[in-house]
Amino acid sequence: MLKKTLNISTSPHIKQALTTDEIMRNVVYALLPVAAFAVFSFGINALLVLVATTASAVLTEHLLCRLSNQESTISDWSAVITGLLLGLILPPAFPLWMAFAGGFISIALGKFIFGGLGYNVFNPALVGRAVLQAAFPVAITTWFPAFADNRFSEIAGSILTFPFMEPEFDAVTGATPLAAFKFDQVTTGTGELALGLVSGSIGETSAVLILLGGAYLVIRKMMNWRIPVAILATVYGLSGIFHLIDPQAYPEPLFMLFSGGLMIGAVFMATDMVASPITPAGATLYGILIGLLVVVIRLWGGLPEGVMYAILLANAVSPHIDNMIQPRVYGTTKD
């Protein structure tokens, strides 16, 4: 005899298996090679910073959820991404207490205050980084040479700075290729840049691994390829034009592509799904806007690097792009 009660559900009764936590977990996987290379090139200091930001982000998310009487949301992996991304865009010998504070700010001010996952206006990691940059301008622009001989044996003095104390940096620091160009008109070779044999933030140096991570996510349909493609194409095209006009004053387009935080920004930061437009046309426009801002800030701004502010500005515009650009609905003539 057949069972008396049946479960009922609303259609569709079948569902594609991919879930949000799985997407987030895969973003973390895509970031792992980048993080591993960072530890390889910057040593134990980079590892400590990455652990500090990730632990801080996850802990903050957990505690804030508990404080507001909600179920903890750390199992969706999004806090891990934020923590990891923040660590990857900090200098290698960044004081740990500042890194920890950055993780807290990213989650608390960048995400939780807006309502948590799905509601953040800006990329949370960039919010954290922007606050750190404003609060600790020296620490965040003090670089550390890549592939130092003692990188696996010695912990930099600055890393262990006591909270709220000014860090003391070791005498040896390595200028980033962008700063070298901006202030000393020295360009670095594209090969070195692509492979990450240069100084810079922890995870921004290896363009190849970043692109591989991005390609993995695009293939698994967990990333909107239009955004990085539009950003990189815009930066390449626009800086190429300026380089043609005056090769002395403006760097080669390939240098622009592979230096600084452009790669990690274009592939992993600008593609934050929540903070970027949802329609294909909107995403392309958003990418072009970021590319434009990056070129403008880098070439004419006071800062050597412009990726962070370019993305934050575009994040702010993203909801308006979504309001403006809606696909034409089937059977209508309305745009």
Partner: protein
Amino acid sequence: MGLFSLRKNTFKHGIHPPEHKEETNGLPIRQFPFPSLIILPTVQHIGAPSELIVREGQEVARGQLLAKAGGYVSSPVHAPVSGTVRKIANVPVISGKMVPGIYLEAFPGSSQEVMDGKPVNLETATPEEILQGVQDAGIVGLGGAAFPTHVKLKVPEDKQCDILMLNGIECEPYLTTDHRVMLEQGKDIFTGIRYLMKATGAKETIIGIEANKQDAADHLESIIPADLPVKVRVVPVKYPQGSEKMLITSILDREVPSGGLPIDVGVVVVNVATTAEIGRLLPRGRGIQERVITITGPAVEKKGNYLIPIGTPLRYVLEQVGVDENLSEVYMGGPMMGVAVSNLNISIVKGTSGIVAFTEEQVKRPQKIYPCIKCGACVDACPISLNPSKLGILAKFEAYDLMADDYNLMDCFECGSCSYVCPSNIPLVQYFRLSKSVVRKRKIVSSRT
């Protein structure tokens, strides 16, 4: 259409759910045993209920009219078996409601000979007489919509039908009834096409079939009568191509205007099984008594395509084919747009194209709902280019009027593609069903005041 005209033969967006059709598409249609008790609701179609014309205790012959159409947009009901009207009372239907209906007890051992009515002569009948014949035969859309076919075939005075489109897409996963009907009832389909072309005035017929039914396309192509202007068109497999609007776009590259009907672009679309039924019933003046149904799903033992009398209780059907004792979900129709059954005492109706059954373990549906992360999967899936993400957020804020006015909510035909792809498991299409019903109710209220 600009750039998109490069991609002919299909519509924009859509999804590719696992098909599961190989489980039944090779199984020929088989006659299902007659149950001893038939339960016939008077609401088996969209429109007014049919009106009963028999009384309790009356003996009826198979094919005899039991309830006449309750208006223009309505359809009559015929006796699927010879027997006695045991009771006239409310009967359960899938929506959970009770509607007036007939409990018909079959004569045991009866030869079940069918009573013929007045034939519709193809040569002499006028279009109006054919439409009347279609209504008298109780024919409704057998693809699942169950809309009275004669209403759909009526071309308005100011419009013209240049193409009759036969829908052999069957894009719902698991279902293979149309596939088998095309393979086994080709002759009836072409007879039906003759009636339909005469009724609509169409100059040409196109049969649209998805590429996973190439054998059916080849078969029909090979038996097209020399005097009939019929083409068979095979299109790539994609859900929800079986929707009229998507089918028209895939094959003709025409767009049915928002709020409009296929006839607005000169097309009338009819399902292949409906056409076969017309071709079989009208020459004899019969009413519809049975239909082909795919019974499948992992919980079903004897999967197959069965010819089942209308009104056969679902419980009887499942007992005959055998189901897993841990049966937990049964859908009438396919798994994408079909309705979950809560009560096994409902019966097979004209619009039942499939029965799909699962046990609890076999339903692999993620339960946890995450917030919308604006990944855009729904935007890339929606066949009519709505923004389900935005609509979903507005639904949460109960901004129903805004959804309808600015975001084309009412164009949604509830194919479920958005819910299917959503990684956050947001029940988007369910939100839209509710929102649409609120908007409709508000419209009625405001029209009264």
